[in-house]
């Protein structure tokens, strides 16, 4: 970022003639004001999101008769109102972890495939196909997940229960369709695949050509080149890409809302239907909620907002530390 913009800040080329610089013309001042104002607008929006969600959340939580963080129930319309995010937090984290475990290795594989393995002629179209995967609206993933993936995963769930049931997490205590956190995790993995792939691919493509060629010249195989020149260079890129994917998975709403059959039971059995996520709960409960119920949902949304903010902020901070990560003028 810094390196890319530095040249524009340099004084106009040519020998210094002693003309006074920095004489702002009105047009310049207006234009600078407009563009600076837009930038500030964005900051204000971010601040406003935090402030208003926070305000509404405080309204709701102050009337909550139970502990907001540890309650396994969502009943803001009740008397007394009782609601808590424990189940939602658990479901959100678990489904995102499943998604990450599945998606990150595959995404790195695809990124390597595009950057180093695919035939040159195929690499472009393949990258395009991955972009298409990113362009599919989440509701359609949800529909596909509910109609195609859920019945399809039934067999896999049985198999996991039979052979890995002793691990507790893969034990099924209730029969039923696979509308569980595990299916949600798989679906989320597919949905976050493109963003992780795209960011890691960019990083891999930037790995220093000289290092790769040096390794090849020493007789390294392609895999050794990748292990010694590409992956170490791209490590921080992989981490931040994964966190960006995690941010997506945490906040995904519709796909989860369509696939999961929610319940306010916290269960470590991933294959049992039930559980919920922050976003899914908001979408599912919104229509029946009165104004106080909406405030309660906003409170849970605030928690989601803070979590994604932290995850994304960390990811971007890692990327920003890499100065090489910039445009063509660098």
């Amino acid at each position: 970022m810094e390196t890319a913009t530095a040249p524009t800040q340099a004084p106009p080329p040519g020998p210094p003639t002693g003309t006074p610089r920095g004489k702002a013309r009105p047009g310049d001042r207006i234009f600078l004001g407009l563009s600076k104002g837009s930038g500030i607008t964005l900051l204000v929006i971010m601040a406003a999101i935090a402030a208003f969600l926070g305000y509404r959340a405080v309204l709701a939580i102050s009337k909550d008769e139970a502990n907001f963080l540890t309650t396994f129930e969502w009943n803001p319309a009740g008397d007394p109102p009782v609601f808590g995010i424990a189940v939602l937090a658990f479901g959100t984290v678990v489904s995102s972890i499943i998604a990450m475990v599945l998606a990150v290795p595959v995404a790195i594989g695809i990124a390597l495939f595009i950057s180093h393995f695919a035939p040159r002629r195929l690499a472009g179209p393949i990258a395009y196909v991955v972009d298409l995967l990113a362009a599919v609206p989440s509701i359609i993933y949800g529909l596909w997940g509910a109609v195609f993936l859920v019945p399809y995963l039934d067999g896999l769930n049985k198999w996991l229960d039979e052979y890995l049931g002793w691990t507790y997490i893969f034990e099924r205590t209730s029969e039923g369709v696979a509308r569980n956190l595990f299916t949600v995790g798989i679906l989320l993995a597919i949905m976050i695949l493109p963003i992780i792939t795209n960011v890691t691919r960019e990083v891999f493509l930037q790995s220093p050509k000289m290092h790769e060629e040096a390794a090849l010249a020493l007789g390294a195989t392609r895999w050794e080149v990748i292990r010694m020149a590409v992956l170490p260079f791209g490590r921080s890129g992989i981490i931040s890409a994964s966190m960006l994917g995690l941010g997506r998975a945490l906040g995904e709403t519709m796909a989860v809302a369509v696939v999961l059959s929610p319940s306010f039971v916290l269960s470590g059995h991933l294959l049992d239907p039930g559980g919920g996520t922050f976003a899914q709960n908001i979408a599912a409960k919104f229509n029946e909620a009165d104004e106080f119920g909406r405030d309660a949902l906003i409170a849970s949304g605030l928690v989601l907002f803070v979590i994604t903010l932290l995850v994304n902020g960390a990811a971007r901070a890692i990327i920003a530390r890499r100065k090489e990560y910039s445009g063509a003028n660098a």
Binding site: L43, F117, L132, S138, I139, L143, I190, T197, T221, W223
Partner: protein, 357 residues
């Protein structure tokens, strides 16, 4: 382990009178593949495994193992690892393609059962959920209006912010804007929806409307536009800026007449991709636009519908006819988004900036 390159074997090779290792013939991977599929099926038949997926998994495992051991025997373990890595990477690629193909195929086949001219030109007015017929016109209209308004709000702010960051940006403000734009890209769409709900609807007391949805969509759209425009502006060669400035052209005219026209193709692409992205957003629309069965052409008053919301509603109803409609709506939505994508990329290719390299 990590420095296998320093292995002495390649150096020792000339003593054997040749510089080359023993190599497997070109058809070897294919042969191993055929062999392992046969093995996988054989085990499947013998063990009586029902699921074809298990056969496939067994074949894949056999393939990886066989590739490693055969190559390791013939060409050395380093080559063996290389081949295993290659096949794993190919597997990853296949894993990404399978869901995309399946999704496209199902959406097409299921969507085409109801999709016709009638479906595109009629609303759900007066129709019971279990009834057949009905259409998507009200949702299509709503989507187009909401997305257009969102684009009108978000594009100028996004463009100007990008100009600020690239052309003027320095110091703490620019760094803060860059950072928060990046963070904003990751805001869950439902949070943007909740924000507009908390301000526009709960605090200012407006009812659900297409415009409220547009506000949330605009929030989601801005950072995307900033990012893509920023990338495009950075691609504009500095020589162009310097030439213009050296001629005494004010900076703002340089930006308007030199920098932006040079990168206009990429910027348009970015905006269209952002539009494509928000077209598919359901969550904020669900909270703010509310959905209706009727045609409401006024985005500023009363509930509207939108394509993703329509798909969600029809699926949630759960009758055979409504699920069919959901698929048809999904097909319309995906076609809409894909056309935007294709056109955007077409523009990107057509108007690719000349970077002089």
């Amino acid at each position: 382990m990590s420095h296998t390159v320093q292995d002495k074997r390649p150096v020792a090779a000339p003593s054997r009178g040749t510089l080359a290792h023993a190599r497997m013939p070109r058809w070897a991977p294919a042969a191993i593949a055929v062999g392992s599929v046969a093995t996988g099926c054989l085990i499947g038949v013998v063990a009586g495994l029902e699921s074809r997926i298990q056969w496939g998994l067994l074949s894949a495992l056999t393939f990886v193992a066989a590739t490693y051991f055969i190559t390791a025997k013939v060409e050395g373990s380093r080559q063996g690892k290389n081949r295993v890595a290659t096949s794993l990477v190919w597997v990853c690629f296949a894993l990404a393609i399978v869901p995309l193909l399946s999704l496209a195929w199902i959406t097409l086949t299921k969507g085409l059962t109801v999709l016709d001219g009638y479906f595109l030109t009629h609303s759900m007015s007066g129709l019971l959920d279990a009834e057949e017929g009905g259409g998507v016109y009200h949702a299509l209209l709503g989507t187009i209006e909401q997305v257009a308004i969102a684009a009108v709000i978000a594009t100028p702010i996004g463009l100007l912010t990008a100009v600020y960051l690239v052309e003027y940006g320095r110091g703490r403000l620019a760094r803060a804007v860059t950072f928060f734009v990046d963070v904003m890209t990751g805001i869950p769409s439902i949070v943007a929806g909740l924000f507009v709900l908390a301000t526009w609807n709960l605090m200012l007391g407006f009812g659900p409307s297409g415009f409220a949805g547009s506000l949330a969509l605009a929030i989601l759209m801005m950072p995307v536009i900033v990012r893509s425009t920023e990338e495009m502006l950075k691609l504009v060669p500095n020589e162009l800026r310097e030439a213009s400035l050296a001629l005494g052209v004010p900076q703002w005219r340089t930006i308007l007449k030199v920098v932006l026209p040079t990168s206009i193709g990429g910027i348009t692409t970015g905006v269209m991709l952002a539009v494509a992205r928000i077209t598919g957003e359901t969550a904020p629309v669900l909270l703010l636009v509310f959905g209706t069965k009727l045609i409401n052409p006024n985005p500023f008053e009363g509930a509207q519908s939108s394509l993703p919301l329509y798909v969600y509603e029809q699926y949630s109803v759960g009758t055979a006819a409504s699920v069919d409609r959901a698929w048809a709506g999904a097909l319309v939505l995906i076609a809409f988004v894909m056309i935007l994508n294709l056109v955007a990329r077409g523009i990107a290719r057509w108007k690719a900036p000349q970077t002089g390299r």
